[in-house]
């Protein structure tokens, strides 16, 4: 069975049809992963697209399941595909109405780590974005309280970046209890 036949057999997901009709200029790539539609969009339009996915009455991706990021610095294929953007911010969405999931990926370059916060769309994004900031150093613009959430406040670095050593930089052996107002 050729590739073409397969594509013809399955109807195009509604989300892709609507995105192509309304936001074709923002789409960088579209994919499918285990039944989930995966779209990669430009950072400039990421907020508009997420807002569209949430508010469009036919799509209604009202549930933000997760916000996280991927450090692709050692994934040559991914890097080449998206103009050597080191990070990929990932939004997982779920539509109760359509009972389907969608994944929105946004490439973020290392020299410009800003991306619009979606806390105005989903309150639940607050802690998820704080975690992504803590682990990857992505700066969510417009976030009400962008602090570290998992690591201690005085921690330096962003440990889920691939260049962070697995065993740390000695922070686990080094402790200054006086500094913590003991």
């Amino acid at each position: 069975m050729s590739e073409e036949n397969q594509v013809e057999e399955q109807p195009k997901p509604l989300i892709l049809e609507k995105l192509e009709a309304n936001h074709a200029d923002a789409l960088l790539a579209q994919d499918e992963s285990r039944g989930t539609v995966v779209v990669t969009v430009r950072k400039e339009q990421s907020y508009a697209i997420l807002e569209y996915l949430k508010t469009d009455p036919e799509l209604a991706y009202t549930f933000l399941v997760d916000v996280t990021a991927v450090d692709n610095s050692q994934m040559e294929s991914e890097l080449m595909q998206f103009d050597y953007a080191r990070f990929m911010v990932v939004y997982q969405l779920y539509s109760y109405q359509g009972q389907c999931r969608a994944r929105v990926k946004v490439p973020v370059h290392e020299n410009d780590l800003n991306i619009p916060s979606v806390t105005t769309l989903w309150q639940g994004a607050n802690w998820l974005e704080r975690e992504t900031y803590d682990m990857f150093g992505i700066n969510f613009e417009g976030h009400p309280d962008l602090r570290r959430i998992l690591m201690p406040d005085d921690f330096e670095g962003h440990p889920l970046r691939k260049d962070y050593p697995l065993r740390g930089r000695g922070e686990r052996e080094r402790f200054n209890f006086d500094k913590q107002n003991m």
Binding site: F155, P159, P165, G168, E171, R172, E173, F175, F177, M182
Partner: protein, 170 residues
């Protein structure tokens, strides 16, 4: 465990008078009324809870008064992973416990980091607080924890100083 246990080397007069040393009586009291402070941060804490519950029933050994206030306890049971963010909390709780105090490091994680050889995990709480008894295992069985409590009791009965006190006088 009656008074005859205390009275090693004691002389009985008329079956009514027992002599002993004050240390022995005090240690006997301490040993049989340990008040543990549970510091459960991970899976090992589940085994600790099982130990405290009716099936294994730690209270058979005089340790039933679990205190969630460090100021009322004299045995700290560290059961679980301690992250670099949690270590100052653990240290503070240890500091708040009145002397004399003993520490049990339960499980591989608390004793040496276990399988989590990562940036965020303390590789053994004994780097920062003195530990009297280590329990190996991942997780240790409740019997192991009971055995550790009995070892602490033996240590108290023998009159040996807690690890923390040794550290101060070294």
């Amino acid at each position: 465990m009656g008074l005859d246990f205390v009275g090693q080397g004691a002389a009985e007069t008329d079956g009514n008078i027992i002599t002993t040393t004050i240390d022995k009586v005090v240690n006997w009291g301490r040993k049989n009324s340990l008040w543990p402070m549970p510091f459960g941060t991970a899976c090992c804490a589940i085994e600790m809870m099982a130990t405290l519950a009716s099936k294994f029933d730690l209270s058979r050994f005089g340790s039933e008064a679990i205190r969630f206030s460090p100021r009322q306890s004299d045995l700290l049971i560290v059961s679980g992973r301690i992250s670099i963010k949690m270590m100052p909390v653990l240290k503070r709780i240890y500091d708040q416990m009145p002397d004399p105090k003993w520490v049990i490091s339960m499980g591989a994680c608390a004793s040496c980091g276990g399988v989590f050889d990562t940036y965020t995990l303390i590789q053994g709480v004994d780097q920062f607080i003195p530990v009297d008894v280590y329990i190996p295992g991942c997780p240790p069985r409740p019997e192991d924890l009971i055995d550790a409590v009995l070892q602490v009791q033996q240590k108290i009965a023998s009159g040996a100083a807690p690890k923390g006190v040794e550290a101060v006088y070294e």
